[in-house]
């Protein structure tokens, strides 16, 4: 395992009186793909949404504990969520491109937020991001058109390109393929694996085969706690916990 990019220290979170995360401690390694898997309701989505401070946007949501990014706690009272969210990008479960914008405008939306106006920079970043998302060849002649005609898989790759354009250090992905067909899924997995060279990726998935295919490290969550965490091969072939083994063999899901 390489250097730690994000250290999660005893993270608790929930909504109102409901506690969803019961003290998560985890280290996310730099420039690798960490998968978080577990049955429905185990808290994996909440966990990932705490990493870029999106969780707190829901009314009555609360967070306790620390999430340390490169040595600084993102939940420090002085920390600026806006700056943090630029460094940690997110791709959502259902693709959510901005419908009133063209493909091009979608991709550079984050750059424009940060005041980048220079056409040349925007054009080059747009092309680069779309290439990294494996979408460039399919849309390069139509990037000024609205993304409405794109298929689900293409829309999701557009969202990946959009997240990449602001050059985050970490990319969070919340079940990015669950709304897509196998062909689209394969394309996205391909792009995710190529991104690993430059980005730290955390991917939540309920598809354990996907976790096995794609990730370097895997965490297994159950009822708001990390049950097991280690490099993917060990977790899948020689799970230390009985719970993990039961999950992997499909005894519950």
């Amino acid at each position: 395992m390489g250097t730690t990019k994000i250290e999660i220290k005893d993270l608790k979170a929930g909504f109102g009186g409901l506690s969803v995360l019961n003290g998560i401690s985890l280290q996310i390694s730099e420039k690798s793909i960490t998968a978080i898997m577990g049955p429905s309701g185990c808290g994996k989505t909440t966990l990932i949404r705490c990493l870029n401070r999106i969780h707190e946007l829901t009314p009555r949501a609360w967070v306790k504990g620390e999430v340390v990014l490169d040595g600084a706690n993102i939940y420090d009272p002085e920390a600026d969520p806006v700056a943090i969210r630029r460094r940690i990008g997110m791709v959502f479960q259902k693709p959510n491109p901005f419908p009133t914008m063209s493909i091009y405008d979608n991709v550079v939306a984050g750059l424009r937020l940060n005041g980048v106006r220079d056409r040349k920079i925007l054009d080059s970043v747009a092309e680069r991001s779309l290439r990294m998302a494996f979408l460039w060849d399919e849309v390069k002649n139509d990037i000024k058109k609205s993304g409405a005609a794109l298929s689900g898989g293409q829309q999701q790759r557009l969202c990946i390109a959009r997240a990449l354009a602001v050059e985050p250090e970490v990319i969070l992905m919340d079940e990015p393929c669950s709304a897509l067909d196998p062909v689209a899924t394969a394309k996205i997995e391909e792009s995710i694996m190529s991104l690993k060279q430059d980005y730290t990726i955390v991917i939540v998935t309920h598809n354990m085969q996907q976790a096995a295919r794609v990730s370097d490290l895997t965490a297994f969550m159950y009822l708001g706690e990390i049950v097991e965490f280690g490099d993917t091969t060990s977790v899948f072939e020689t799970p230390k916990s009985e719970l993990t083994e039961k999950y992997l063999t499909g005894k519950f899901g």
Partner: protein, 293 residues
């Protein structure tokens, strides 16, 4: 890979813009609320002193010196009579149409009529006044409470029809099916089961329509003209509360103007009471805003 560095000046500017817009938004909300508070306060402070038992029970009159005395009894009575008649006309038609829109939505008549209903709902009431003037006042040769009531009912029907339709549509299809599966005929199902389930929505709609009609002045200007006497028949110029407020307010006479405030207070109290009670009845949006869409 080249990094695009966050510009600190830009970040500060964005934060400042965010703060500015937030305060502007709050200012806007305050600006929206202030007039309401002021209006109610002003109507109360200018109107309450004028109100007395004699104000409510006597007719307009003048002292020997030409100073207005008396009260608004005929206006209160006139408004009341017209609302009652309008109610009797508009409720059957409005509820009937609402039932048709809700129970037979697939019919062509339903779509056209429902659309027409919506158009009618948003109509300038003065135009409705012109219509009733032509059709009733001209043909009967006189201003009348009947004409006024008809004008008010034209305003009330779309509101009632719309809210009836909405309230009945909310009743689940399964309820109708269950009733008919038990052998209850369709008409009984609608009248007994569906309407009784949706009855608070229906009542709300009718209350809102009544409240709306109470405040309408423009159509009455053209149909009842106003009067200083108690109405003895439905076919003569009649006084009405909002009309009195308008005439006295524009009269230039300070005593009459004061009476206008008093009448305004009565009117606004009644309207607030009606509207707020529907809020509690159904938690529903107030008045015309819903009905206009």
């Amino acid at each position: 890979m080249p990094k695009i560095n966050p510009n600190h000046a830009t970040a500060r500017r964005r934060k400042a813009v965010d703060k500015l817009m937030t305060s502007l938004i709050v200012v806007a909300t305050v600006l929206a609320i202030v007039p309401l508070v002021l209006i109610i306060a002003d109507v109360a402070s200018k109107g309450i002193p004028v109100i007395s038992l004699s104000f409510l029970t006597s007719l307009p009159g003048w002292s020997a010196a030409g100073v207005p005395t008396g009260g608004i009894a005929n206006a209160l009575f006139g408004s009341f009579i017209m609302i009652v008649i309008a109610f009797l006309i508009s409720v059957p038609i409005g509820v009937g149409a609402g039932i048709f829109f809700s129970e037979w939505p697939e019919s062509r008549l339903s779509t056209i009529s429902s659309f027409t209903n919506d158009v009618l709902a948003g109509f300038p009431s003065i135009v409705i006044g012109i219509f009733v003037y032509i059709v009733i006042v001209l043909s009967t040769g006189t201003f009348s409470a009947l004409a006024g009531a008809v004008a008010l009912s034209i305003i009330m029907i779309p509101i009632i029809a719309r809210s009836t339709e909405e309230s009945l549509k909310i009743v689940p299809v399964t309820l109708r099916e269950a009733s008919m599966a038990l052998g209850v005929s369709r008409w009984r199902t609608v009248l007994k089961v569906v309407i009784s389930t949706g009855r608070s929505g229906l009542a709300t709609g009718i209350l809102l329509a009544v409240a709306r009609a109470l405040g309408e002045t423009a159509p009455l200007l053209l149909t009842v003209q106003g009067s200083n006497l108690f109405p003895t028949s439905l076919f003569q110029p009649t006084a009405a509360l909002p009309l009195l407020i308008f005439n006295y307010g524009m009269s230039g006479d300070p005593t009459l103007e004061a009476q206008a405030w008093g009448a305004a207070f009565i009117l606004i109290i009644v309207m607030l009471a009606l509207n707020l009670s529907t809020r509690f009845l159904l938690g529903r949006r107030l008045g015309e805003v819903r009905a206009e869409i």
